[in-house]
Symmetry: C5
């Protein structure tokens, strides 16, 4: 998995990739995005109250042969680069070309479409790489009667808990149909958002600590980095609220009324994440203000002390200059203690200025 | 009760704790948050027009035995750390697992769910600790027919007035059912918000006074502290509006029409608190502007005065330098009063510059 | 009437006073706010097409005796400090305890409640004291059939025109029932808002003029003062819109359809005031920007001129220093016109620098 | 026509004038605003498919005598100072006192009221005077069956095209009733808004050009001037949207369904103007940022160059000072080429510093 | 195609051109905008499942003769300067004068009107010229039964893919009626928006890179340029959302229910572009902040180093001045190693100051 380079932040924010297919008819199948797996492969998972079966990397024909209308089936399509194969798959399962177009475009914003016999839902998984960049992987779902199809950019480890929960014979996942499975997967994805949010929280707390203990120029870069990551997250979470709202309000037979409360719970989590992102954006801005004011404060302190030193010595140097003049008649020069008197006057002036500066709190 | 450390503000703002349970099935019961009591205990309060009884720290069985369908019962669950015990309790009273999940997650945002036979409502109590940090304790309610169950992170003293009001035989609390009790508790919690808001008001007024009398660097820290506390409060109050709105619009038999006006009154208070928070956020920002402009103003004044001193002496030093030159032929040097004339010229220049500076209001 | 002190601005903005009654049952009657009259007194005004009668400072019994169901009656309660007396009054006229609670809490935000047999409406009168602080007095209304009850913090002179209009035999006030009277009083209060707004306008115009003619440090204080006064006004006007909207949409028999257009007119005025406040807030912010940029501009000009003086003399002083050196062999020193040549060089350098500075518009 | 003075911008923004009539009964007729004509006069325009007649400056009686129910009549009231005459007129045509009150108050914000037998609509015409200030004139309309009455602060030239269009016998104006005439007048007024907007566009473009070619202090004044003019326009355009919306949604027999699309078109123009104003406000703010950053950039450049000069000469002056000391034993002084060596050292140091500064791009 | 000059940005943002036709009756046909083609010409495209025919640059009569009610027809009007010819065309096809007015005004904001027998839709194509300015061309559509009429400012190459798709015999374009064609054209236009957005992304990324590697003054100009381009795009995309919303909600027979999902897809793209523009605006603002803080940081560093040099030499020069005084009795002068001791003291002071500065991180 490649980490997004530092210089591509604007493109990351606006990633749409639609340029590639300008002018093609709607539903033209072109994969847009990075290739993250070696090939496009299919997995089939079947479950009912008594059995649970996973078939990895099978062919289209094998899927058709093994589909069992009595069981809840989950087809996972991993890797999106083979657009024609996915097109074939789409025709087989009668997926609307516009669904496939959105599935293959990894710059698609989260959305959901509820139709009579199919529910389409696309969103992003979020993870943090070693360099603290947030990486998004697109996951799309098409739900039909007794069937959930998911499309993944790559084989992600975050779904493993689902398999473990499938193995529990009495578990809800086995008996509750594809809409509950869709909920479980969405819930898992959104739960990972909290981890990414927590990561940003750590970054913000670190910056706040550094502002006090170890002020340096890189703080501004980190603040800017946070700002972009937060915009990036907002971009993915904001339309997700709407997409979940569409599902919640849908009056579709595909969705069991009883399970809507679960989707409601996910919606609630997304709201919480959204509000947290907004709060962090505000906090991040306030950290920038703190940084800039701290910086200018330090600068001012330097300038002030240095200026004070200069200011004290300038009058003294003037006095020294006076008695360096070569006039024939300068009575002070021949006073016996003239030199010492001048020294005394100078020290007095310096001392008086220091007292004055201190009194005005300039020192 | 531990006070949240200074460096954890971002985490405090985003506290979600959901990371702990990522991948678990919905309704998995895990306590998320600080442990604030020694154990999880149950209290039962029963009341009707003629009697009022409090049973402290009793077992689940005892609760079942003492429940009286003729009386309004209030079960208090104090301490949330024993998730399995609370799970048992939940099964006994047929609480939906998602309710229990939200109850145990102390990072839950305020929300309410109204169902046919149960009303779920969770919010936060606010208090201020000795270091002026705002501390939030989660309180959740499940209301059923003739029964209110409340879940507390810790035994809070703020509910004591309720017990006193229960002791009044003719009091409304005894005769008005669990919805009125729910209102009374919510009202009490929201009334304490006003105290926290007043605390912020004091902080803001102190800062404003300090800006004039005792300008120092810590003011900025205090402003930043206020900013974070206000974001924190907003985060808790904003969704509370929505949650109360859900209750107000609910057409549930659990809620006596006559009592809705009381909830309306609480809603009104929450609105007032929300608007006050927004006003304080604006005021706090304006204090930051005042601070920065005051700071830069002071700095400028220092720089200006010091620069003026330097500027006056620089030409004088130049003149002294002139007559310190060693040219063989410098007619002024042999003038009898040359030295005094130069002094006079210097004083004149210095005086003229002072007049000029004062005229231009630079001094 | 005491003027709010300068240091209490945050509290003024958030004045809620609800802390006093935390934990008491709803409808507990406690006066919250300043005591602005000597005692709580009652006035009764009765009017119909043919008669108009004012009875000042009468007892509760007297009110009951003099109420005439054939006439429109207006009871004025002046001074809110005697909570128990007002409670008695409330019971007599069957006012809901929550109404009384809001009436006695002078930190109550404007709101209105329309019920089958009563309309409750509370808002603030605004005035400006000698120190240009905006003072708010709470006025609450309860309207019943043929009866309007108003509660005042103090005897305000702003209602005098109403009495004059009552004296006109054919006037609408006499014949139009309590809802028209309520409108007339509300209209009067809102009309006074325009005067307060105009006062802010004067303050803003003065600041703008001062920015050009008489720049000084107090301008920032005045801008901050305006900012707080505008937030204060917004806080009172914003919920008033909503409260009037509730009245406009109410389908109550207490409100004569024909009089709604008058309330609509008041609503319109409140909207205009609200928009004006928003415009003034923006203008005030722009004045702050102007002030700061003017300040930094002046500072820069000082620094620039002073720096230029220093810069001109520094090279000259260096030259003087050169010829003040005591080397045994320095040929220039023995040139006959060496001294004058040096003077010439110095003047030339100074002149050249001045020309250069002027050319670059630095001077 | 007097131009609003520079110092009255806040009052211009908040112009309400309602202070004048505080305490008077609703519908009290008082003219509020400048007197812009010599007297209040009436014009009557009558038109049908075959005839078109204009009667200027006629009396109330003449109007009554000449009104022809078979024709579309347009009565123009020019000059609002004679409140009693307008009151008489209002009684004659049964205009509601509240309409007249709004018509006479030239600080009224744009609004419309649709009633069964009358439509009231008030808005402002905008124009630009010689000193580039935006001037607003209030125009109010009352539409009744077959009759449009318009009230003008002064005789404006912008309505002349209407008369020309009336003269076309087959023109729509003659045959389409008073609602189409109302549309035509409104359209004309809104079209003039575009010219005022264009004027602001010119001002913004000029400022942008000046920022590059002729930077000076007046730019900030011009930006502030634009800011106020844009707030002023927004204040008039924002409620106009709403007012037109009321007309569009009205289900009145006074409005021909077929003509609604024309009002829709005007609404569309108002939206476009509103969005343009918002864009210009943003652009104006960005110009202020540009100005301030350009200013600080120039200041910095001056300070930098001057500081560099000082910095080069300070060490040199120190060296000269060294050899100006009068120690008995200073070996360098008696070196034959000491003086020249010192010169060489000084030049070397100066050159080296210049190279260094240039390398660091400080010069 | 002329590129918009740099100095016309405000006018570009507010381009309305309505000034030209102020006072004319509605539906007066005047071309407003640049003339981008030599003449106004007409193309006719006819298609059904079996045939596809393109007739270029034909006369109005030829169009009438060749229209075939059995086929889907597409009439392209290229070049809008010949207003009277387009008026003639409009009469022929019974287009409402208000449609024609909007078509001819190239400053028209995107909008759509759905009527019983016609759908009007106008929007802009976006492209980027060589100097990186965004150029907009207006395209308007009128859809009738079996007929789509499009009006273009110039012959744009972006529609060529449509012709290629028409050539495919089994393609959807041939068989799906004018609403699908309208969708295909709109989709193509919106797809080009993505390219323009990508162009802005490149500009933002370049600026971000330059901030680190090649800081210079032109960056601010580029940021300002981006700001204006983004406002310009927002101005065109914001009302487009609304216009598409009107089409989506229209219950017109002209729109095949089945094709609405395609328009929904375009709506979705427009939403994505709108959000991306908002994100870029925020990013652009943050780049400006970065630039300004980088600039002030560099300036501060220069000032700091230079001030430090001055500060070190000032006390040293003072010491040299002391021993340049000409007092008769100055014991140090006659010390044998006085001169060297003074040198030592000076070096010590300089060294000590350097150590101190470094310790305080001022160097």
């Amino acid at each position: 998995m490649k980490t997004p380079g530092k210089k591509k932040s604007a493109k990351k924010l606006g990633k749409t990739g639609s340029g590639k297919k300008t002018g093609l008819p709607p539903g033209s199948l072109i994969h847009i995005g990075q290739v993250k797996t070696e090939k496009t492969s299919f997995d089939l998972i079947k479950a009912d109250a008594t059995s649970f079966e996973v078939m990895k990397d099978i062919s289209l024909n094998q899927i058709l042969n093994h589909l069992d209308p009595a069981k809840t089936s989950w087809i996972r399509v991993i890797g999106l680069q083979n657009a024609s194969l996915i097109g074939e798959f789409g025709e087989l399962f009668k997926l609307h070309p516009l669904f496939l177009e959105d599935i293959l475009n990894t710059g698609q914003r989260p959305k959901s479409i509820v139709e009579e016999d199919a529910l389409f839902f696309t969103l992003k998984t979020l993870a943090v790489d070693k360099e603290n960049n947030i990486i998004a992987d697109q996951v799309s779902f098409v739900m039909k009667e007794k069937l959930l199809i998911s499309f993944h950019e790559s084989e992600l480890s975050i779904f493993e808990p689902i398999f473990k929960r499938f193995e529990v014979p009495a578990g809800r996942l086995r008996s509750s149909g594809p809409d509950y499975l869709l909920y479980a997967l969405t819930d898992l994805i959104v739960d990972h958002y909290f981890q990414v949010v927590e990561n940003v929280a750590n970054a913000l707390d670190q910056i706040e600590e550094k502002l006090i203990t170890d002020m340096n120029e890189q703080i501004l870069d980190q603040i800017q980095h946070n700002r972009k990551e937060l915009i990036f997250m907002k971009k993915l979470v904001f339309p997700l609220r709407e997409a979940l709202g569409v599902i919640l309000k849908a009056e579709s037979d595909l969705l069991n009324r009883k399970h809507l409360r679960y989707f409601n719970d996910v919606y609630d989590h997304v709201m919480q994440i959204y509000e947290t992102i907004e709060n962090y954006r505000e906090l991040n801005t306030s950290l920038k203000d703190m940084y800039l004011s701290e910086l200018s404060h330090r600068m001012n302190k330097v300038m002030q002390v240095l200026t004070i030193i200069a200011t004290i010595f300038i009058p003294l140097t003037f006095i020294a200059g006076i008695y360096g003049m070569n006039f024939d008649y300068m009575p002070e020069l021949s006073f016996k203690y003239g030199y010492f008197i001048v020294w005394f006057i100078m020290l007095f002036i310096a001392g008086w200025m220091l007292v004055l500066f201190r009194k005005n709190k300039w020192l």
